[in-house]
Point group: C2
Chain length 277, copies 2
């Protein structure tokens, strides 16, 4: 799965060549996909507990899942349906919106560093520092030269994370222009979803090609050996959830965190408990 | 449920008079309890989404669940099994351990204020500022006079939270001395649980009466109209989970958060999407 969805770095990326409705290596249909996810839940939870347990004995390793994608691509849905299967106590979830005045006064990585997962945790970013080369590029929120420098800064930053034991899993949720329209219309059709909608979302669709271009550049320049990008076809929600669950499972299985061994005399402790007054 | 489990403030509290295996107002057995919890899950998730949605339109209300109890009383299990049913994106979970050097340099409420839920969120504290009148009292970590002043400080602090739209739900997970021994022995019997165990846990049992006394005082002095304490019998895990789910449901239903109404022309937006080029 990792190999299949991985974006080759340093080569031109053409998003239009990726079918957002595709289901590479996936179960044959939604029912099979949901069943496959259900089968992963226990292993994911077990690995998460092991990761956490290991951190109590000094293991500094952790995971950081970065979710990026156009509006309605399912970043929030991924948090709800994939991360919802983990123990919430071990998850550090952070959504990044337009930076505050305080955040703007610092380097674009400042607010990112403050939100990183601690050892043993699974961190989840709903948007991330990539906004600073996506919307920032499309809307020219920073000088061109400054943005050009950010790709290298991001790569060095992510390399430093990897060196510090952070497994970075970057997922681009790839949806089609038509699928976004359908999802926006669904929001309009349901009054309980109107709060998620803004007429600006329609205006933004004019910028779709510019955003796709910005994503292509980010994927090309920042898919590194230490922190590769995964391109997840996301028109089908069940596939998106299955693929991201699978990616997390594969990365956690590679980490293979172990429960720490007892550093005390188990038999003696049991005896004390059984004979206490 | 709120009335049943609520600790009357200002009156003497005798924990030994509460049966930790009791199931007040609860389902008749574990199977019925799990079924009842399953039935609540959807309503809880719906109310959480409404609370979050309302916050996007300026509603500042939020919930803060405070979990206190002896070791093995099930604070972590409550986060996993009760909070695990919520959307993790809207939960702000914080565990409080022995204060760091930086935290000790500030008032005992300093680290608490920094961990409060934002509007629309459900905050969960696994331990809290109550540690500063519990372990601090039992182990004399602060002068007696200082501790005596903390109850009033806590009440004023929690009153200020209530005034700011925070619904504070404080749960004392009440387990028996024998049940704690059984749970500690279970940890010893399972090598995957050894990391949760320390021989200090046995030593701490010598202080059980002193802790019970400290809890009695905290419950008596800090069960206020704005932030009452609920005493949750916790020897039976299914009952604990059912009772806390029910308490959260009742509080959320009282808040009755509403989805914001559209502040744009829905028909016009739909037309634009359907006719865009």
């Amino acid at each position: 799965m990792r190999r299949l969805l991985r974006v080759p770095g340093g080569q031109g990326v053409d998003l239009s060549s990726y079918d957002a409705r595709a289901t590479p290596a996936g179960p044959r249909d939604k029912a099979a996909g949901l069943a496959a996810i259900a089968q992963m839940v226990e292993r994911l939870a077990d690995l998460q507990e092991r990761l956490w347990a290991a951190s109590t004995a000094g293991d500094r390793r952790r995971v950081l899942l970065i979710l990026q994608g156009m509006d309605t691509s399912g970043k929030g849905g991924t948090v709800k349906h994939v991360i919802g299967h983990f123990n919430p106590a071990g998850c550090r979830i952070r959504g990044f919106k337009a930076p505050t005045a305080e955040e703007r006064a610092h380097s674009f990585l400042w607010r990112i560093r403050r939100a990183l997962p601690e050892p043993g945790e699974i961190g989840i970013f709903d948007r991330s520092h990539y906004e600073d080369v996506l919307i920032a590029r499309v809307r020219e929120l920073a000088p061109h030269k400054e943005i050009a420098h950010r790709y290298g800064k991001i790569n060095r930053f992510e390399k430093s994370l990897a060196d510090d034991g952070v497994t970075v899993v970057k997922c681009f949720l790839h949806i089609s222009y038509d699928q976004q329209r359908r999802r926006l219309l669904q929001r309009l059709d349901n009054p309980d979803k109107h709060w998620k909608f803004s007429p600006d979302d329609i205006d933004d669709r004019q910028l779709w090609p510019a955003y796709q271009k910005a994503y292509e550049i980010a994927l090309e320049r920042c898919s590194t050996p230490e922190a590769p990008w995964f391109l997840v076809p996301a028109d089908r929600k069940w596939y998106r959830n299955w693929a991201i669950s699978t990616l997390l499972l594969e990365h956690l299985e590679t980490l293979a965190p172990q429960y720490p061994k007892a550093d005390f005399d188990v038999a003696e402790a049991r005896q004390r408990l059984l004979t206490e007054t």
